[in-house]
């Protein structure tokens, strides 16, 4: 069943269309920056973008930063929201279950397929970012400071450590893993909603609504009490991989909170799906 779901994922045009779009956005941005040599100044615009002019191998992380706020959650919500609801809409759910594929197995296969999509999308964005970054920008030495990165040429006043290519690679891997896990939290919410409704779009929009609500509350000082438990609270903590020393506190919290969301919503999805009347 897992193999079948993965085959379906790979053979579905929308999988590749969404990944293509995800990879296209950072590429377009890279081209603009490379042509104009005007990058956002440090502290403005998406994190890291200012540093990539100096060193293109940072671009994978910058590319993820570009798709993280909107593009990536939308794609992940759509795919995960479609997992069960899409089968219900197409009328295949009843045949899958009558085949019989156990409900738990089907949900597990869907979950694995969603995880494969999320991690695949994140990794492909990073790989595309590396290719465009290394191709379009230089590889000048960089300093990593407590406040983030700086090209060594302009950051001489800052106390920082030079970054080796291996260092950049390790930090980028950390960021890729962190963003991947953050997206799994989104996927778990959408998957749960996908078992509640027969409408893929409803499930996807529901997950996005949850994220937007979370984003608003995180920014709201008076909601500070709940903010540590919100799914988007630590989304941006991946940037802490690019500080010296690495600020592990928020990274750890981010991993932990996403783990909780994944466990809770996958369990809820299972509890609902295993006992649900399939009338689609």
């Amino acid at each position: 069943m897992i193999r079948v779901e993965l085959v379906k994922l790979v053979r579905r045009p929308r999988t590749w269309a969404s990944i293509l779009l995800l990879c296209a956005l950072p590429t377009v941005v890279a081209v603009f920056i490379a042509v104009t040599h005007v990058a956002p100044s440090p502290g403005q615009g998406p994190a890291l973008l200012s540093a990539v002019l100096a060193n293109g191998t940072l671009y994978p992380a910058a590319a993820l930063a570009l798709v993280l706020p909107i593009f990536l959650p939308i794609a992940v919500s759509l795919m995960a929201g479609d997992a069960i609801a899409g089968e219900a809409t197409s009328g295949m759910l009843r045949y899958l279950l009558a085949r019989p594929v156990g409900r738990t197995r089907l949900l597990a296969a869907k979950l694995i397929s969603v995880i494969a999509y999320v991690l695949g999308a994140v990794v492909l964005v990073a790989v595309t970012g590396y290719a465009t970054g290394a191709g379009l920008f230089g590889t000048k030495p960089l300093l990593v400071t407590p406040h983030g990165l700086a090209a060594s040429s302009i950051a001489t006043s800052l106390s920082g450590t030079p970054m080796t290519p291996a260092d950049i690679a390790m930090r980028t891997l950390g960021a890729v893993a962190f963003i991947g896990v953050s997206m799994l939290g989104v996927a778990a919410i959408a998957l749960f909603l996908s078992t509640l409704t027969d409408s893929s779009l409803g499930a996807a929009l529901g997950a996005l609504a949850a994220l937007i609500t979370s984003g608003v509350l995180v920014a709201l000082n008076s909601a500070a009490v709940v903010s540590p438990y919100l799914p988007t609270r630590y989304w941006l903590a991946w940037a802490d991989f690019f500080r010296e020393p690495i600020l592990w506190r928020n990274i750890e919290r981010g991993f932990a909170i996403q783990g909780v969301y994944v466990v809770v919503f996958v369990a809820a999805a299972w509890a609902n799906f295993a006992t649900k009347d399939v009338t689609s």
Binding site: R3, V4, V7, K8, R11, R12, P13, S90, G91, M92, R94, Y95, L97, A98, R99, P100, G102, T275, D277, V278, T279
Partner: protein
Amino acid sequence: MIVTRGLTKRFGPVLAVDQVDLDVREGDRFGFLGPNGSGKTTVIRMLLGLVFATSGEIEVLGKPIPSRVREVLPRVGALVEGPSAYGHLSGRANLALIDAAGQVGLAGIDGRPVRKYSLGMRQRLGLAAALLRAPRLLVLDEPTNGLDPQGIREIRDLLVRLNEAGTTVFLSSHQLAEVEQLCTRVGIVNRGRLVLQAELSALRPVTGRVIVRSPDADRAAAELNGQVASRDGDQLVVTGTDPAALNARLVTAGLRVIEIRPERSSLEDLVLELTGPGADRIDRDAGQPGDHPPPATGDAP
């Protein structure tokens, strides 16, 4: 093969299935009849473990559903509320996905994506999928929906062949003529209740009249003067005799007979009498299914 006892399903306030006691025996071609919205599909979904009963018991192939549904379903072929397939894949890919283990030879199947199939082709694909694992029991919800007359006939012949080879067939339909030609037993459901379950032959009692077709219909009508209830071309409906005696009489009189048989009342009359107006009509006095006591007929002998 299928036994239900007191099977009941409530969707919120709606009693969709009410105390249904089905009994489908090995070797039956069982027709499950009823108007739209009478609960046929809900019963079928419960048999397949898709919908969970509110109360009552289900046994399919001698095992309880839904607790042991995974042991039962590999030997059951199902078509539920129309066929489904992944529109972007070909028919071959769909069959492979539905049963990655083994494919039956579907001669002539090509690489066209299923979304380009006609309704009839989809229906055939759905049936092919139901037949993939040589099931002991076929559960088919409206299997000939969307098929043209030739298609309906092919499916009917196929089901009879499979049945003769040992497959029990349980099919729902509201096309009574089709059921009449195909089934050996029928159950009639109305407003969620099984109002009748019996051998088809018992449901179609002879009317006491005889149908005769003869190229000499004019002379036959004269010969049988006073006994001919109606005439349609070369076909006469004759009263007050039995087929054997009538045949002897006609042949003695030198009249040629093409066909002679006892007239039976039609299933359609019976079903309409038992079920009343379609349940998807919203008449002012209709109320909820289940509010009405069942028609008095009960289970037939």
